[in-house]
Symmetry: C2
Subunit: 252 residues, 2 copies
């Protein structure tokens, strides 16, 4: 029948009127529960808004059983809710394109993502380069490809939005803090491009506990973000223009 | 009292539940009517949704009379609606920061923008570089700074979202078509980096008439986009990875 893939933003009230309308027509609604999380509220609030039960799906439900999931979409009108925007993760694009390949009718509804908030820092949206993700480091796996991208952004006078890793499963919920990200960045910064560099920490984006702090790399590292609200992300600034200097100076 | 700056997305039904709630509490609602436009629907639909009259503001109302506007916000709870997201234009950031400087309480509500749709092309959100704007060329003013940014993006293997200029005033409504943008690009392309390059045209983003077409630069130039839906924008692709090749191949 149909698969609606719907971005729901960072909290239940970010949902659009279009999405509410479309979800009310669905036979069954699922929510992807492993690549992101609510800044505030929960799926329960979305159940009240839509008047429908919402079933969580974890990585093993969706990636391991994609065939089953798509089979259901052949016979029913189903919705898959994605925290933030629909396309932020390759895994969600894969679901969309597999459905298309199978000839299932699909519809994409966009949602507010953390990208919609970068302007709130005072930095210009047009002066951002490639977005990077900072992954958790493990004993034998310490990826650092993001460092080359940050370097390249800086040398092109572009700011870098760093998205921080997270682990969500039925058993575990672990979010990378800004401190952990800064520590990984310190370790990869062989060329000392981050030394004394202005960085902006964003905590609890869009929640009542939202906090945006601009400081030098070293000063930010001395703060404790572990008790601050999530989602957290980090912006590494390139050279600021005059307007940006003024705007960032007005933060807080 | 308070100034709420609210992104309303590309069409009335993109408005979030949060925005509807907050707008209903306002004494007066204005809509900025000169840097963007609705993909479908109009401010009339937002009047029905919020139950309030919405007053349009043009450049001369807002930039020329910012003091008056902010004075009103000192005594009332007012909202300024922005098509798309709040921070896409420097002029809106200026209003926000001027209000903050005057000690007026401000609130920012994010909205869906054209950036939330780039993933729909099959390209990865993380592989976009700096966004550029392509301005109308005039007799004595033919800016081409965007060309250097596109070149830099390509050499960093990053795609470029090109936003197309528009002129909206009480007297005039003029939108740059994808053809006009391609013609300007052809003229600035001294190094022939665009020759034979894959480009993606997006027309009527988020409207019922939405159309996404991926073709080589020259082939796209031979199509006529003047009768297609607006907003229109153009993506200049860098090298595609395997997933992207597969996904872009499934367009249409």
């Amino acid at each position: 029948m149909m698969l609606i893939i719907c971005g729901i933003g960072l909290k239940p009230k970010h949902i659009t009127l279009e999405a509410v309308e479309r979800l009310k027509e669905c036979d069954r609604i699922f929510i992807e529960a492993y690549t992101s999380y609510f800044a505030e509220g929960s799926a329960k609030d979305l159940e009240k808004i839509t008047g429908k039960k919402i079933f969580p799906l974890y990585r093993e439900d969706l990636e391991g059983n994609l065939e089953n999931f798509l089979d259901m979409a052949k016979r029913n009108k189903i919705a898959l809710l994605i925290l933030g925007n629909v396309f932020s993760a390759t895994t969600h694009m894969q679901i969309y394109y597999e459905a298309k390949k199978k000839g299932i009718k699909t519809e994409i509804l966009p949602g507010i993502s953390i990208l919609n908030f970068v302007g709130k820092t005072g930095l210009e949206e047009y002066k951002f380069g490639r977005i990077v993700s900072i992954p958790f480091w493990q004993q034998n796996y310490k990826p650092k490809s993001f460092y080359a991208y940050i370097k390249n952004n800086i040398s092109s006078a572009l700011h870098t939005l760093c998205l921080l890793d997270l682990r969500i499963s039925k058993e575990e919920k672990r979010f990378m803090t800004i401190n952990e990200a800064l520590e990984i960045l310190r370790k990869v910064d062989e060329e000392k491009i981050l030394s004394n560099r202005l960085c902006i920490a964003m905590c609890g984006v869009s929640s009542a506990a939202e906090e945006i702090v601009a400081e030098r790399f070293e000063d930010l590292s001395r703060k404790d973000f572990s008790k601050k609200a999530f989602p957290q992300c980090l912006i590494i600034c390139a050279e600021l223009n005059e307007k940006e200097k003024e705007f960032v100076g007005l933060l807080g």
